[in-house]
Amino acid sequence: MTGKKGAGGRFYTYLVMLFLYAPIFILIVFSFNEANSRTRWTGFTLKWYGELLADRGIMSSFYTTISVSALSAAIATAAGTLASVGLFNMRRRWRAPILSVNNIPLINADIITGVAMCLLFVSLGSVLKFRLGFGTLLIAHITFNIPYVVLSVMPKLRQLDENLVDAAQDLGCTWFRAFRKVIMPEIMPGIVNGAMIAFTMSIDDFVISYFTAGSGVMTLSMKVFSMTRKRVSPKINALSSLMFAAVLFLLLAINIRELSQEERRKKGTKPRKTR
């Protein structure tokens, strides 16, 4: 590629990055703004951060988000991994339709998944006498998380050498032990990947939570939504800055870890070709 063309391309990527980051940057700048304004700068302050941390509603919605995401990701990872192993051992004739049903929550618009589950929970609730709340929210999150886990574990199972499991069992392992000692380590990258996707999907979800959490429970996204409809407070800006910092930190940590792993692989330990 000639220098001139490359420069044009780079300039374009910078423009797109500007488009992506300018709004976030502005949010962050105005989180330090003295006045209750989103546009007029009056002076530096940290008071919005203090108010954010003192706001019970926001903090409790934050805890709800973290707990529902962590719980649903953990449950979905365990359930999704077991389901993948089961599905993998099924005949194709059965597996294919189940996998298409598995894809429904991924293909459907969030709002459809949300209202459909809302209908289910409301009608079940009127029979079984329960209300929408943390339980239904958790079920909804598990439901839309499992497909991601299945989709990231299945390919790893396909790569797995079936003979390894047979060998382990021939050598006297119970199936469960073979699963733990042979299958698990091999498909671990898929499981970790699935768990991470599930967790981020849960954290970022608004629409499905909105329809399944009922009126008593609020996730952070729901809280922000309700705040934007009333008078806007710079507390949201402070919240955005903290979220951005957290995400940036996480992403950097993951990338640095991956990079160092790669370097280690390049330098010392040989790739495990011989089994």
């Binding site: 391309g9 374009y12 990527t13 797109v16 990055m17 488009f19 992506l20 709004p23 976030i24 502005i26 105005f30 989103r38 546009t39 359930a79 077991l82 389901a83 089961g86 599905l87 051992n89 099924m90 189940i98 049903v101 429904i104 929550p105 293909i107 459907n108 618009a109 969030d110 709002i111 459809i112 209202v115 459909a116 589950m117 809302c118 209908l119 009608s123 079920i139 439901t143 499992i146 199936w175 981020t200 954290i203 970022d204 608004f206 629409v207 952070l220 996204s221 922000v224 939504f225 934007t228 409809r229 806007v232 949201i236 955005s240 979220m243 995400v247 940036l248 996480l250 992403l251 990338n255």
Partner: protein, 270 residues
């Protein structure tokens, strides 16, 4: 043969929480409040034709803008050195990890009538520019939120294109334009197709963006459904009917995208 019973709990879970809710939508769509069969819910949709039209128009415009912005971005990225690609990808994904509501909220303050863009233009003696609470603001919000959904799948396809194919085309005398149109573009179509669906589906069904940036003045399909379930116009039967229609239209859309994609694949092989 072995251990397929492990899938049984998940199959039951799918039946209870994925299949049953969809069936409920269908049942609600075809019944009235009293419980009898009716197609009234669908005829009642007649007065919302404009909402359907607006939703599809705005979603199509946003998808087109995302494609126009995202394709070149993916193309440029795929040709960068590996380390740089990695950093750029991270930068592209970072905003996606930040909360969707907060990202949309960011644009509220920029597009406001007293917002930064108007002030900037005012500084140059232009404006006042009214953007907030217009369809344009909704499109900007959609593009901002969904651009990575277009750029990432296109990128992941372009980066896998066999360089020797492009070199072969160049060796055979293809101009850069020809090489792009005859080799790179056709080979990248699967990525484009998945990008288009990944942008179009959330765009056509959103209600957050239209309420935050459209000021609730421009009802979209998502708003309409939301109103029937949680809003003032409580009527889950009508809401289910609208949701069902949307689901069917999206499925048809995706079916044609897939067909189109398959055709392209074959054309490439031949």
């Amino acid at each position: 043969m072995k251990r397929r019973t492990l899938a049984v709990p998940y199959v039951l879970w799918l039946a209870a929480f994925v299949v049953a809710p969809v069936i409920l939508i269908v049942i609600y769509a075809f019944t009235s409040r009293s419980g009898g069969f009716t197609t009234e819910n669908f005829s009642a949709m007649g007065k919302y034709v404009s909402v359907f039209a607006r939703s599809f128009a705005l979603a199509l415009i946003s998808t087109a803008v995302c494609l126009a912005l995202g394709y070149p971005l993916a193309y440029v990225l795929a040709r960068e050195p590996a380390r740089r690609q990695r950093i750029m990808l991270m930068l592209l994904m970072l905003p996606m990890w930040m909360n969707f509501l907060l990202r949309t909220y960011a644009w509220m303050s920029i597009l406001e009538n007293t917002g930064l863009i108007s002030r900037l233009l005012g500084f140059f003696g232009l404006g006042p520019l009214r953007v907030i609470n217009t369809p344009a603001a909704v499109v900007i919000g959609m593009v901002y939120n969904f651009l990575p959904f277009m750029a990432l799948p296109v990128y992941s396809v372009i980066v896998k294109i066999d360089r020797s194919l492009i070199e072969a085309a160049q060796d055979l005398g293809g101009s850069p334009r020809t090489v792009f149109l005859r080799v790179t573009l056709p080979l990248s179509l699967p990525g484009v197709l998945s990008g288009v669906t990944m942008v179009f589906v959330p765009a056509v069904s959103t209600f957050v963006i239209s309420q935050l940036l459209g000021g609730g003045k421009y009802l979209l399909l998502g708003d309409l459904i939301e109103m029937q379930f949680l809003g003032q116009a409580y009527n889950p039967h009508l809401g289910s009917a609208i949701a069902l229609v949307m689901m069917v239209v999206v499925m048809i859309f995706m079916f044609f995208m897939n067909k189109f994609g398959e055709g392209e694949d074959k054309a490439v092989i031949i």
